[in-house]
């Protein structure tokens, strides 16, 4: 304890705490998406995080903060498309995720994004999550979404300070698997285009990493019915 006070100024402490909250949200996000993360990783206490990811001055060392996780069986099942005539044995459309915190404090442009893209591509990660402290430039956003066959997402640290899905006004969003989606459409005799919609840029959709064409079930509390489920088609 004594060491902590001597090395880290109040400023460093503040930044460390903020980053710790972001870090926890990232793990909660990975867990909610269905990746394999342990409960200890999600519930990491502040002092442990501090000792692990701070530099000698007490400031966070973002270069150390890299995470990769594999999808669970359940997630793979959810992301496996229905077998069709042309594709009788479909493979799940998900894979290892890689999360990186960008150490640059300002001015994140195409250079850093290109390096990130290269790393994701080289190590054959399916999904990449790039977390920066400041907004990234528009061309960097375009570059990030431009790798064919891979999914790269971007978040700002301050967007993940609190986990928005834990807020009491945010209902529970559950991703439907292709079978469940087919059943739903059959049951209500709908085409998917007749469902209510939700944007991929929606904060919860971004949190869950939803893709175009997926359907989520939204479960709300209802005063009259107890629970009320509605569905959204992600566009």
């Amino acid at each position: 304890m004594d060491e902590d006070y001597s090395t880290g100024s109040a400023d460093a402490d503040r930044e460390m705490t903020r980053l710790w909250r972001t870090w926890r949200t990232v793990f909660e996000m990975l867990q909610d998406r269905g990746y394999e993360v342990t409960e200890e990783e999600v519930q990491i206490p502040l002092h442990e995080f501090k000792s692990k990811y701070s530099d000698p001055l007490g400031y966070p060392d973002r270069n150390k903060m890299k995470v990769s996780a594999r999808p669970t069986e359940a997630m793979q099942a959810k992301y496996t498309p229905l077998p069709s005539k042309s594709n009788p044995d479909p493979q799940p459309d998900c894979g290892t995720v890689y999360v990186e915190f960008c150490p640059d404090a300002s001015g994140v442009g195409t250079k850093q994004v290109r390096a990130f893209n290269h790393f994701v591509d080289e190590n054959n990660f399916h999904t990449g999550v790039f977390i920066t402290q400041t907004p990234i430039s528009p061309s960097a956003v375009r570059l990030l979404s431009g790798i064919p066959g891979r999914i790269c997402e971007h978040f700002q640290e301050q967007d993940l300070l609190v986990n928005i899905t834990r807020h009491e006004l945010v209902p529970k969003h559950v991703l439907l698997s292709p079978e469940e989606k087919a059943k739903l459409l059959e049951r209500y005799r709908l085409k998917e285009s007749q469902l209510p919609r939700m944007q991929v840029s929606d904060p919860v959709a971004r949190y869950l990493g939803l893709r175009r064409g997926q359907v989520v079930k939204i479960i709300r509390k209802s005063e009259t019915a107890g629970r009320y489920a509605s569905y959204r088609w992600v566009i």
């Binding site: 001015g107 250079k111 570059l143």
Partner: protein, 311 residues
């Protein structure tokens, strides 16, 4: 068709299957039509739109590539932005062809992130304003203030100042920006030349200077001829001079016609279209005042219903 080689990114499964592999499409087409009864017109429309979207995406990636190229421009660290090498200027202008002003802003931002001046032909670093504060006060040259006294004063956001290495570069970059077309390149018409002949500030100044000089010359010819007539000069040499001036001004008019100046243009005399003015006849007559008719004694009918007289 080059578009067919790249796989289409579309949500229409039939379109995707049809367009993703042209050879497969060739084989499948007759079977497809007989089986699912796809209307070829619908198919053609869907394909048309898919190709347009694909072309748009290709253009966007092209612009992104150009931005990435221009971030590290010019390649020689000693290049002078006030007199760029013709090769650099040509490359720069060519690269800017598909740009919109917003893309140009992205380029400036990207260059600044790299630590360079926002102007594409300047290899220097952008300046850094010391100290805090969001704004800076800029003073103009002496005598630029209101009424020609004092100095002009501008309050400028700090980040705007930090975009450039100097005010000159800012002017050069903005000179390019206002020439860029607002419409995206896929909506421009083929004969649109707006982005094709961009002019750098230095070139523009040079042209303007030349234009000023030549314009000044024609003006003086006309003015001098007019002044000569007004002066009522006498003597043979004066008449001779007046005749010469007359000739000169005629010649300058011819030249102007060749240049296509509108003031003495061929259309000026006759007008571009024949305008015929035809007055409409005034068909309204004097309005007669309403006359009392026999059925109006009771007050008349209300849509065919005659109210009974009240006792």
């Amino acid at each position: 068709m080059p578009v067919n080689q790249t796989p289409l990114r579309t949500s229409l499964p039939t379109t995707h299957a049809a367009a993703s592999d042209s050879s497969r499409r060739q084989q499948k087409k007759p079977q497809n039509q007989s089986n699912s009864g796809v209307d070829p017109r619908h198919m053609a429309i869907a394909l048309h739109h898919a190709h347009r979207i694909q072309a748009q995406k290709d253009t966007e990636s092209l612009i992104l590539d150009r931005i990435l190229d221009l971030v590290a421009f010019p390649h020689s660290p000693t290049a002078d932005p006030s007199s760029p090498s013709p090769e650099d200027a040509r490359l720069f202008k060519n690269a800017l062809f598909p740009f919109q002003p917003t893309d140009y802003d992205n380029l400036i931002q990207e260059r600044n992130i790299e630590g360079l001046c926002g102007y594409g032909l300047c290899p220097r670093e952008h300046r850094r304003e010391e100290g805090g504060g969001m704004f800076r006060i800029r003073y103009g040259a002496k005598g630029s203030g209101p009424g020609g006294r004092g100095r002009e004063m501008n309050i400028v956001p700090k980040e705007k100042l930090e975009m450039w290495c100097s005010d000159e570069c800012a002017e050069r970059a903005m000179y390019i920006r206002v020439q860029l077309a607002q419409e995206p390149v896929w909506e421009r018409r083929g004969d649109d030349t707006r982005n094709k002949d961009l002019v750098l500030l230095e070139e523009g100044r040079e042209q303007q200077g030349r234009g000023m000089r030549s314009g000044g010359n024609t003006a003086t010819v006309g003015q001098v001829a007019g002044q000569l007539e007004n002066m009522h000069m006498h003597g043979p040499e004066a008449r001779d001079m007046a005749a010469q001036m007359q000739e000169l001004s005629l010649r300058s008019q011819e030249l102007a016609l060749e240049r296509g100046d509108s003031s003495t243009g061929a259309f000026q005399q006759g007008g571009r279209v024949g305008v015929q003015i035809i007055e409409n006849e005034n068909i309204s007559h004097a309005v007669a005042p309403p006359q009392m008719r026999p059925e109006d004694i009771q007050g008349g009918s209300i849509e065919g219903f005659f109210p009974k007289p009240q006792e």
